[in-house]
Structures are given as structure tokens and as C-alpha cells.
Assembly symmetry: C2
Homo-oligomer: 511 residues x 2
């Protein structure tokens, strides 16, 4: 046999022999039922120990490449041939795929939904994790229940009650891999029961995609400055779900007032539908207390979904659902089918992080930082766009849409509560920009009096070093938010914000 064995190789002689024989069998050089040399004669021929040959043959036997016939010898198994090519080396990586956001380095990215990543106390977090590892009895490395670690669910139930008014016990909570998994599980569950869902329009296009991928049928309801137009909830359909972001509407930033919340709950009750309350960044409220969750008003009617992506950091992928008791079992089963349960050690670390007060401290520090940052953005926007004019409204705080004598500014009439068809924008008597959503959260929305922002603008701005996002991208019925942009500010420096807004203004002026 023509076999070359390299004694200087890092591979053992045995492995070389085994590999060579196998390759020859697979490639057809050694054919079915062909007899192999005896171990003794092959060892002699190759000047190697007989044990080496025995080991190599044994392995080929174990994998079925060869067979033995008692008192006769060793043969190649017939039928071993491959049509398809075999490469013997992993293909070279064509290029190192970096992290998604590396594309954006050097640009000013106004992406929403990303907290300030430098604020997270990652060293403290690492220490907690290490301590958890040290102290953990090995049996906690086993599989867990699908709903997640009790320690975290217990801490979370207390936290959510204290901070968001959510009424639940640890048993009502399922720990998810981010809010995204929560939305997907709900879509998976309800799509086969009743695919009709009511959604705010605009709403996060990530959630829209999730719902669409489960073949849900979306029924958009428009918004005004106070959020969902509850009196426009459709009578003629029976939805299974109503998606809402009542504490800081995404993307407009509206706060849904209590009367609309009640109307929404009553509607859901009549329709026997569940409300999905997406409470994604409302820990950060800069005026007054945090707006309480809707869930507290009707815990058995509302699926409350939250995430630590904005409170801590997105790469953590820990979110949670607070479920009505009637849904717990079905959603838990889906979680089990999807991934058994979420990773445990970071859940335990997070439970400790909450218990020791570090979450409260971090949220407090972040809130202070974001409040300043948000005020800065508002100032810069007005400084750049208003020039001499200085009007800005916050209808979430100072007006109530049901009360015609309230102190709402006239530019509210961009979208009114009383008109199902949205009116044309009145270009007279409104200021150059209107800012909403800046009393809470880590982004705000800007509507222009004079500008509409197209895809071409987005491309041009990208070339000018600014990545900008429009509210229109999150609409279902198109055309009503073409004059609105979103400013995610949490993870940008003041310089970047100032420069970015200036570039946007210059671009819009120069078109």
C-alpha cells in the first residue's frame, strides 16, 4: 500500500494512518470487499508498531468503514463512496464579520432603544456573577423550570410592584430572552386561536414584523398626542389581542391618559381580548413619578411585557412577561418548546443585582443622566430649528384631549381626537418643530412644519455621517408621519448630538 506517514507531523502516526485509509475508502481508491493487509504485514511494510495498525483498524471498524471475517481477514465495507466533494479543511473565513454596529462607527447614530452603555456598572456585574458561580451548589447548573429562576421572578415581582405598580407574584412571571421573545411567544400562541390583533399606528416595526411572521392580521388604530384613539377601536372585528405602549408610546412618546386606559380595558373585556402592555423604557420619567403600568388596573386582562435591554444593556437578553393566570400554562409550554428556559447564571446575578439595590441605584443614576441629555437635545433642536422662534409643547403633561378647554396648543390639530380621517397639516400658526415624548424614555420624536423626510434624505444623511430614523418607518398606514424623525439620545455625546442635529438641519435646508 502506498501510504506516507509523516513522523514530524503534529498528528499521531495512528491518526495519520486512520485518516489516510478512510480517505482512500471514501474516495474509492480502496473498493468494497477488497481485502486489507493484515495488521502484522501492514506494520512491517510501513515500519510501524503493530499496535498502531490495530488501533487504526479498530477505529475504522467502529465507524463501519471495514468489516472483519473470522479467520479470514479484514475487508472494505461495500457501498462506501461519496458523490459530493469533501473538503478537508474548513473554508477560510471570507472576512471577519464584525458586530452589527461596527458599520456605524464614526457616524452619529440616532437609533432609538439603546441605553447609554458606559453607564452600566459592568465590573460590579462581573463580580456578582463570579460570586454566584463560587457560591452555587453544582445542582443549580442543571435544567430549570421554563418560567425561569424563582429568585429573579421574586425580586422582579417586588420591583415591578414598587416601581411600576404591577400587581403580580413571582408565579405570574416568565423570564424571557428579551421582550422580543415575549412578543413572539404571544404571536405563536394566539395566531392559531384568532389572528386578529389591534395595534397602535405607528408602532415598533420590530413588533409588526414578529406579528406578521406568525400570520397575524393587523388592525391599526391611529394616535393623537395622548396616544391610542380609544374611541376609534373597531366594533366590527373581534381581536384576540390589543398591543399598546401606554407609558411612553413607541415611537411618538405619548402617555395614554387614564380615561383612555379604562376605555381600552372595557373594550378588551367586551371583546374578550387581551391587552399587551409593552412597558419598554418607562423607568425613565423626568417629570413627576413614573406613570404607573396599565396592568395594575386589570391584571387578568393584561399581558405585561418588559425588558432589561433599556435598564441594563441589550446584549444581556433578559426580558419578562407578567401573565394573566389563564395564559400562564400555554405560554410556559411555548417557552419550553422554544428553548426550555433562559440561561440561569445571569438570571441569578440579576436577582442579586436587584436585591442588593444596585438596580435602583443604576436606574437612578441613568435617569439623572438621561434627563440632562434629553433637555440638552430639546435645547439643541429648538436652537437649530426654531432660530428666533422658541415654541415647544408637551401635550402629554399639560393637556388632556378630552377637555376642550385645556391648555393644549393649537398644533395639536395636526391629528385630532375627533376626526377619523387625519386632517392636512396646517402650516400656519404652528412652530417649525414640535417635540413629543421628551418627558420620559430614551428617545423623542420631532415633527417638522416644513420638511418631509424621504428615504433619499436618509441615504444622503448617512453619507453626511448621520444615521437617522423616521417615525414613518414604523407606520402601518403610510403617509401620516413623513414629517417626523426619531432622536435616540441616550448613547450619544453632547457633541455628537449637537453636530448631528446641525447636519440634519443643513441637509433639510439645502435640498
Amino acid at each position: 500500500m502506498n501510504i506516507f506517514l509523516d513522523r514530524d507531523s503534529r498528528q499521531s502516526i495512528t491518526k495519520q494512518l486512520y485518516t489516510r485509509l478512510k480517505t482512500d475508502i471514501l474516495s474509492g481508491l480502496l473498493v468494497g470487499d477488497e481485502k486489507l493487509p493484515s495488521t502484522r504485514s501492514l506494520a512491517k511494510e510501513l515500519h510501524i508498531s503493530r499496535n498502531v495498525v490495530l488501533e487504526a483498524y479498530d477505529q475504522l471498524l467502529a465507524e463501519g468503514y471495514i468489516y472483519t471475517v473470522d479467520r479470514s481477514g479484514i475487508y472494505i465495507t461495500p457501498g462506501v463512496s461519496i458523490a459530493e466533494n469533501i473538503t478537508n479543511q474548513p473554508s477560510e473565513k471570507s472576512s471577519v464579520i464584525g458586530l452589527q454596529f461596527e458599520d456605524d462607527q464614526g457616524t452619529i447614530d440616532f437609533r432609538t432603544g439603546i441605553p447609554n452603555l458606559s453607564l452600566f456598572p459592568k465590573n460590579k456585574w462581573g463580580s456578582i456573577y463570579k460570586t454566584i458561580c463560587q457560591d452555587l451548589p453544582p445542582l443549580h447548573l442543571d435544567y430549570y423550570e421554563p418560567s425561569g429562576c424563582y429568585e429573579l421572578r421574586f425580586q422582579l415581582a417586588n420591583y415591578l410592584y414598587r416601581v411600576r405598580g404591577v400587581i403580580c407574584s413571582a408565579n405570574d412571571i416568565i423570564i424571557t430572552s428579551g421582550a422580543a421573545q415575549g412578543f413572539n411567544m404571544i404571536a405563536t400562541h394566539f395566531s392559531s386561536i384568532n389572528p386578529h390583533v389591534i395595534v397602535e399606528d405607528p408602532m415598533s416595526n420590530g413588533i409588526t414584523k414578529t406579528l406578521a411572521s406568525s400570520n397575524m392580521i393587523l388592525h391599526p388604530v391611529p394616535l393623537d398626542h395622548d396616544g391610542l384613539l380609544a374611541h376609534q377601536l373597531p366594533d366590527h372585528i373581534d381581536p384576540s389581542l390589543i398591543f399598546t405602549t401606554p407609558s411612553h408610546q413607541y415611537p411618538t412618546g405619548a402617555v395614554l391618559p387614564i380615561n383612555r386606559r379604562i376605555k381600552l380595558i372595557n373594550y378588551a373585556t367586551t371583546k374578550n381580548a387581551y391587552i399587551v402592555e409593552d412597558d419598554y423604557d418607562s423607568e425613565y420619567r423626568y417629570e413627576g413619578y413614573p406613570i404607573q403600568s396599565m396592568q395594575s388596573l386589570s391584571p387578568e386582562r393584561i399581558i405585561y411585557i418588559g425588558t432589561f435591554s433599556k435598564m441594563l444593556f441589550p446584549a444581556l437578553r433578559i426580558g419578562y412577561m407578567v401573565l394573566p393566570k389563564a395564559l400562564k400554562s400555554a405560554i410556559t409550554s411555548i417557552k419550553y418548546i422554544e428553548d426550555l428556559h433562559s440561561p440561569v447564571l445571569e438570571q441569578l446575578s440579576l436577582a442579586k443585582f436587584i436585591e442588593s439595590g444596585l438596580l435602583d441605584l443604576h436606574v437612578k443614576n441613568s435617569k439623572k443622566y438621561y434627563a440632562k441629555k434629553c433637555a440638552f437635545v430639546v435645547d439643541v433642536l429648538h436652537g437649530v430649528f426654531d432660530e428666533s422662534e422658541t415654541a415647544h409643547t408637551d401635550n402629554n403633561t399639560f393637556s388632556n384631549s378630552n377637555n376642550s378647554t385645556s391648555n393644549r396648543k393649537t398644533n395639536d390639530s395636526m391629528i385630532t381626537d375627533n376626526m377619523i380621517k387625519r386632517p392636512e397639516i396646517d402650516l400656519v400658526n404652528i412652530p417649525p418643530i414640535e417635540i413629543t415624548g421628551h418627558t420620559a424614555g430614551i428617545h423623542l420624536m420631532v415633527r417638522f412644519r416644513d420638511y418631509h423626510v424621504s428615504d433619499d434624505d436618509i441615504v444622503a444623511l448617512r453619507n453626511a455621517g448621520v444615521t437617522l430614523y423616521t417615525a414613518e418607518a414604523h407606520t402601518i398606514i403610510k403617509g401620516h408621519y413623513t414629517n417626523a424623525i426619531l432622536i435616540g439620545f441616550a448613547n450619544l455625546s453632547d457633541d455628537a448630538i449637537q453636530k448631528g442635529i446641525q447636519i440634519i438641519h443643513t441637509h433639510l435646508l439645502s435640498r
Copy 2:
């Protein structure tokens, strides 16, 4: 107004006032359009600062409970009333739900698929994680690409090539939340394209459930001692997928010989189907080299799925898929919809763990430990069940089913390659027990000559302190594995194994 404020409370006076007013509004004590006292007069009445009232009113205003009329005053918003009860405290946790496995404490649990949890170097792991946290630039706390961290995929591609012969680059890998997520994503993708799948019978009932939940139609193919009976692959259906565990069949432990692998690949090619290779515990092979993956024979035809649940620990929830290029984009989209991507910090820790040689070391140590443990189990089983007899076969290593003159023992005929209908078990000339699957992995299968194990036996044994699992539980066509039990041994002490097997024997004898 009848408002009691507790100056000794841990709640601020402002929050007490706000909460009280809100409760009165929600409960209907204060009704719609009722005028509230002015801030000045309420402050005077309650002997508190006017600022306290201003703050409480401001918050109620922000949440829409009240509205203001210029130069008139402050009013309750109409329509704020709740039919459903509001509890003001989170319900007491009815009982502390412990971890799933706490039920089993004090019992001897022969569960399969659980490694020895004490072997994992959790302190080293914790230190690596802490170092990752310290050294990580904050921007790595951001969202990642759906396929997972490049660092881990790169290390994994090299590891899988080196140890399992898998041919892939980092770009072909998706990091999943355990193998479970991989199976679910495949089922999600293919169920809408072509729901017909071929499965080994028996196969893991966890995977069966996953496939069933996506409405896949299962076509079982029986096994013999060498695994899937490739010549029984059905001609009359066109499956989209073929599920197999070629390196250590679950649950029988068979190793699929190369000629059947080739037959299976050729079948899949003819049918334009993909093979799903579930390579769940084959790092641990106690005789010869590890059986190489099937994937290396046909990388564009085979979806290779693995997990760190058995190599490291289940609570980690890190698995991986090596995908044919044609599937990468579709499965990545599903991963994105399901949970955006898997948690990052543990992925980076694992990349470092592999890079620094700790994975190899851990697998080496574990393998040595399991080999001893496995041999011990085999000895105890024979000692207890064979009494004077001492037969045990390992057809995976010493026989080849295509070769009638091989040294296979006669008890092979329990299931033969040449008969589509399984024959009755021949009770003559076979030893009391037959052990399979003990040359690899962390469980083995025992078939009894004289005993069938029913659900009643499982209950009785549970009461006697032993949790036992049957192969029959993993079958699709019932009745052929009623005499087979599974012994997961990795996480049990020698004493527990000895005692547990003795209890099983005593029970079966005494029925």
C-alpha cells in the same frame, strides 16, 4: 376632604396624597368633572406644604386622572372607573416553587442527558466572565447579530473541525439557546414548506414534541443495533428533513456505520431533503477515536446541531447549528424573530474558555471520569442481573450488520436488518440483559430478556426511591421497547448507581 396622611410612613407625604387621590378616583369616591380643592386650600386643610399638593396634582395630571381649566380650577377626568377589582398588594406567593429537580432530591435519578455537574470548573468560569466584563468596551453591550458572537463562532468552527471533523467556517454557525432552539427553528422553517419528516424510532421524545408542536408529520424508521435501518427509508414520501443521531443514537446508543451514512445521504440527495444530525454527547467516546460527524461527508446536505449542555452544563443554554449555506439566511431570520440573538457575555466567556484550552481540558477530564463510571455501571448491571452469567455485547464496535459472518452475537436478532417487521424476542440463548450504547456518551440502554417495564413499575420504583426512564417512552410506534430501560449515569455516585440498580432488580423480581 377626608384624607389621612401618615407622617411616620416610609412613603413620602406627596406619594401618599397622590395614591389616596388616585384610589378615590378609581374607586368612584371622586366622580367625573367634580372640582378638586385648590392647591392652596388643600394644603391648608391637610397642614402640608403647598408644594406637596402641587406635586401630587401634577402627577395625577400627567397620568390623566385630572384635568385643568384655565382660570377655573382642577377637575376629575370623567370616565375613570373600574369594574374589575384592584388589589393593592402583590398576592402572597402561594409557595416557593423550587427548581424542577428538587422534587427528585433524595431519590436516585437515572435521567439521561445530564452531565456530572460537579466536574464543571465553575470558579474558573466565573473568573473568565468577570475578566470579560472588565475588559469589554461598553459598545459590546449593544445588540449583536442574530447568529451570535463571531469570537465564539470562530472558536467553535475550529473546535468542531478538530474534535468532530465538522467542516464549516464561523459564518456557517448560528449560536442558539441550547439545541432545543435549533430543533424548534428548523421545525418552524420547514413546517410551512413541507411538513414530512423522517425520524429514527425511537428518538428523543423532546424532539418529537417540538416537531409535533409545529405540525410536522413524522415518518418513523426502525433501528437495529447499528442504528437507523437505512434500507427501510421510504420511497413513497418526499420528506423535507431526516432526523438522526448517528454518533450515539438516542436512546439506543447505536453508532451508524459508514455505509448506512452514505445510504442516508444518497437518499436525502435523491429526495432533496436535509439531514438533521443531532450530535448531542459524542465528545465522550470511550473506545477508539470519537466517531466523526456525518456532516463532514456532505456539509451542504446536513444541518449539524450541537449543545454545550452535556459538555459544560444545561443551565448555560448555549447550543449551535452548522448550516448548509442555502439555509443560513432563513434560519437567521427566524432566530432574529424569536429572540434577536443569544446573550453575549456568556458567549464571549465561552469563546475564551475554548481558546484558552479549558474546554479541551474539561472534556478530557470528564471523559476519563465518565469512562470509569460507565464501566462501573456495566459491571454492576451484569453483577446484579446476570448472576452467574456474564455476557455483554457491544455490536457497535465489534460487528457490522452488512456482514453475516461477523462476530455478532445471536441476541442481535432481537431486531434484524433484514426484516421490516420486527420479530418476537427469542427468549432462548440470549443473556438476561443486553447493554448497548456504553462505548460513548453519558447514558446506556439495557434490554431485559425476562422483564417488561410498565408505567406501574415506574411509579412503584419512584416510591422505592428510584426514578427510572424507559426507551419505550421515546418510541413513536409503541410496543417494541417495553423491555428496555435507560441509565443516565454521569451525575450519580457509585453508591447511588449500585443501590439504584439493586432496587430495580429487586422490584422486577418481586412483581
